[in-house]
């Protein structure tokens, strides 16, 4: 979500520290996703500082049958940067869906979104990523 390993590590450390303190004091919330919720808000807070992604209009392409081959040629950092540059709450939806593999109900609870919004954010995200893929790793190259 942050596109920066150092910041991500700091957020993870702070989240775990908070979890440890709460656990030691017996104040662990009953919400099973509180750790992720906490981490998400910390990420959003951190991402407000420093360099901000430029707001651009993403192109959208239909998903291609050769997309898996294109993705294989990607570097994982490129994916991280692309997701971290997505606007909120699309970034949260993509991160929770692809990085943590939460199902739609869990994402609804964590990101406080509606099913229509999540569906649109994911579908648009895929089409935009496909468009970016087509530019970064042209389909002919991937084949």
């Amino acid at each position: 979500m942050l596109g920066d390993a150092r910041k991500a590590q700091e957020v993870l450390g702070a989240t775990l520290r908070e979890a440890t303190l709460r656990s030691a004091n017996g104040e662990t919330p009953s919400d099973p996703f509180w750790l992720f919720r906490d981490a998400r808000w910390r990420c959003l807070e951190t991402s407000e500082h420093g360099l901000q992604a430029e707001k651009v209009e993403f192109q959208e392409h239909d998903l291609s049958p050769s997309a898996p081959a294109q993705i294989e040629r990607l570097d994982v950092n490129q994916l991280a940067i692309w997701i971290s540059a997505a606007p909120e709450p699309q970034r949260t939806a993509l991160a929770l869906f692809y990085l943590d593999e939460f199902n739609h109900r869990e994402i609804l609870s964590l990101a406080e979104l509606k099913i229509g919004e999540i569906s649109r954010l994911l579908a648009n995200g895929r089409r935009q990523f496909q468009a970016w893929l087509n530019t970064t790793v042209p389909q002919r190259e991937a084949k």
């Binding site: 593999e101 739609h104 569906s119 895929r126």
Partner: protein, 261 residues
């Protein structure tokens, strides 16, 4: 079959179809995926998602982060939580156990000084405490002289008052049957308004050791104690009485009731 044939709700769900089918634990989601499975668009989406998931899986975890999670018990869980004690169910069980334990302790303390025959002795003490003077025949003489009276009037042969109490001056006496049909003689003496019970015939108690330890049993709050002269005294004899295992206690044996020591 195109994904466009799905209902709006199913289309929304199909867009959120989980990457792994193992995560598909929602009925409506399973139905949407089942309907969308035949479409090329959905197949592309699934391949796309799986390829991205595979890429994510290949993300290397920094060694320092790996170290944090090297132990399964990252945050050791305390076995006992104070919050658990505030749970009404736990609280109720704890109180119930405490009450049960308290009852057992009281029972134990009450019966700590018990001796064989204590129940009989308690019954007789209750009789002594509840006896009114009008129930007794007025007899003003020495307690030692009542043996003859019992023999002549009530046919109680060999019911002798022990010499230790023979000099007590009496106020009255009576003979009655107890719960088990044994005849019991009751004597009121002047000294501290005591009640004296000859319980058994002398010849049945041939053991000199036993006969020699006839004594006074203190009646107070249902407990029998041999020590102290300042309390109300009730005397039992006739059966047998001997010092209890614990200091200060006295044991009784009634005629017809044989208690093991």
């Amino acid at each position: 079959m195109k994904i466009a044939r799905l209902s709006r709700r199913q289309r929304l769900l199909a867009n959120c179809a989980p990457i792994s089918e193992e995560r598909m634990n929602d009925r409506s989601m399973r139905a949407a995926v089942f309907c969308a499975r035949g479409s090329g668009e959905f197949a592309n989406q699934q391949r796309f998602d799986r390829a991205l998931a595979a890429l994510v899986q290949s993300v290397p975890i920094p060694p320092e982060i790996e170290e944090w999670f090297s132990s399964e018990n990252l945050v050791p869980r305390s076995k006992w939580k104070w919050k658990m004690a505030q749970n009404p169910a736990v609280l109720a069980v704890a109180i119930a156990l405490a009450v049960i334990a308290g009852v057992f302790v009281l029972q134990f303390l009450e019966h700590r000084h018990d001796f064989p025959g204590a129940e009989t002795a308690r019954k007789l003490l209750m009789v002594a405490a509840s006896t009114r003077s009008v129930l007794l025949d007025p007899v003003r003489t020495d307690a030692g002289a009542l043996g003859d009276l019992f023999f002549m009037k009530h046919q109680l042969e060999h019911y002798d008052v022990p010499p230790a109490f023979a000099d007590f001056r009496t106020l009255g006496c009576r003979v009655f049957d107890d719960d088990e049909g044994h005849r019991v003689a009751q004597i009121w003496v002047i000294e501290k308004r005591n009640a004296v019970f000859p319980l058994s015939r002398r010849e049945k108690c041939q053991d000199r050791r036993r006969l020699g330890v006839f004594g006074l049993a203190l009646c107070r709050a249902g407990r029998l104690d041999r020590s102290g002269a300042r309390e109300k005294w009730c005397l039992f004899y006739g059966g047998v009485a001997w010092p209890g295992k614990r200091p200060g206690t006295i044991c009784f044996e009634n005629e017809g009731i044989r208690h093991s020591r």
